[in-house]
Symmetry: C2
Subunit: 230 residues, 2 copies
Amino acid sequence: MTREIPRTLQILWGEAPRPGGRGLNRERIVAAAIEIADADGLAALSMARLAERLGSAPMSLYRHVANKDELLAFMLDAAPGSPPELPRGWRPGLEAWARALRDVYYAHPWILQVSDGRPPLDPGQLAWLDRGLAALDGTPLSQRDRFEVVTAVLYFVRGEAQIGAILMRGGSMEDYAGLIAHFVRPERLPALAAASDAGIFRPSADAAESSFAYGLARVLDGVSVLLAGD
Amino acid sequence: MTREIPRTLQILWGEAPRPGGRGLNRERIVAAAIEIADADGLAALSMARLAERLGSAPMSLYRHVANKDELLAFMLDAAPGSPPELPRGWRPGLEAWARALRDVYYAHPWILQVSDGRPPLDPGQLAWLDRGLAALDGTPLSQRDRFEVVTAVLYFVRGEAQIGAILMRGGSMEDYAGLIAHFVRPERLPALAAASDAGIFRPSADAAESSFAYGLARVLDGVSVLLAGD
DNA sequence: CGCAAAAGCGTACGACATACGCACCAGGGC
DNA sequence: GCCCTGGTGCGTATGTCGTACGCTTTTGCG
């Protein structure tokens, strides 16, 4: 029934004693790794570069981290920080939660590449999940309903953050609009051509923000239908 | 205004002539690469393994593919195939579209790792986007509304498929329920503890399917609010 | 002060993507 | 029949990566 508890998780939940080393330690390593990934992207994070930044030899890192996958798990736990306090009411609460989460993904775009959506087990990510569920306290929804709702919002935020983050990273939307217009012919892709002609892809200053607000409103509307129907 | 058109896209849209080689050609290479990624995961796809499967030398592949990134772009274009015909009516249409798309992700889970949500420009993915938009033909929604709606559904499908695919790949849900129950204490994560106590994470035969249906209904309810309010 | 355990690290290996340049082959013009 | 040209296949070699292994240095404790 209770099987082997993975070492990585025991460390994260404080069940394994912290190795009390000087100089190098897990926190410093993870913090430096996050800095590299934030600044130059996940691909730029190699054990060699990380060691260089820490002023140590590459192999020294392995005293504190079993392998690179474990390092990534630690980063995933640490990067999001603590979830914010939410305003009262399920809708303002979920909306604030969604926005805060989006900000996390904007600040650390690599999170979306590392966690392939694998259900999280570390305290850092579960704290956010807990906060999302808490936004629905006081509603008549069942536990299962609440979970599905939070999940749906989470997926939306992740999807939106993924393209938002890419657009912010220099991939200009202007190129995109132009390329779509160049390739899409009404006889092959009529609906898309109509969208393109209507200027959907034309860049605008607040495109990311208004898309986010709009889509989130749609999802939350769906939740309100659920609440009204009860 | 119109800047350089990337070589990869020119090939995909048929603007560059197909190199008429014998033996090796792009189609065979891409098909074999997809087979490897489907069977053994993206990590198992190396140029060396791919060449081995094709009975050629690794470097021969580079006559048909500029580099591995371009190979991945080709795979992303080819893997989804043609989108299905959709039933009439925006809601049945979007629902069928969402399910077909989920099936694509289940069949080729690596798609979600390769495309970081970067807006697609290849004909294969744009055909799916077009079909999703077409499901909303005949509704009073503006082009922008339609696009946002399809995007929201797309994000949900991607999120759901991501964890669904992982659960199918042997990561048993039983472990997850047990580990959550082991680590989550009500005083630290009360909402999550309540969810866990209610058995949310207990594995069930149709968990993936019912989550999908439920969440999708929520998102589509949001769309119906939009249509009703007009 | 002595010693065991822990921390740091140098070397080495196997996988990987891919630059470069040579060998082979087909087809077309003479 | 012969050569020449452009494309195709490939062998070699380079640099990067993660990390296994075992040695050396440091540290905390009795």
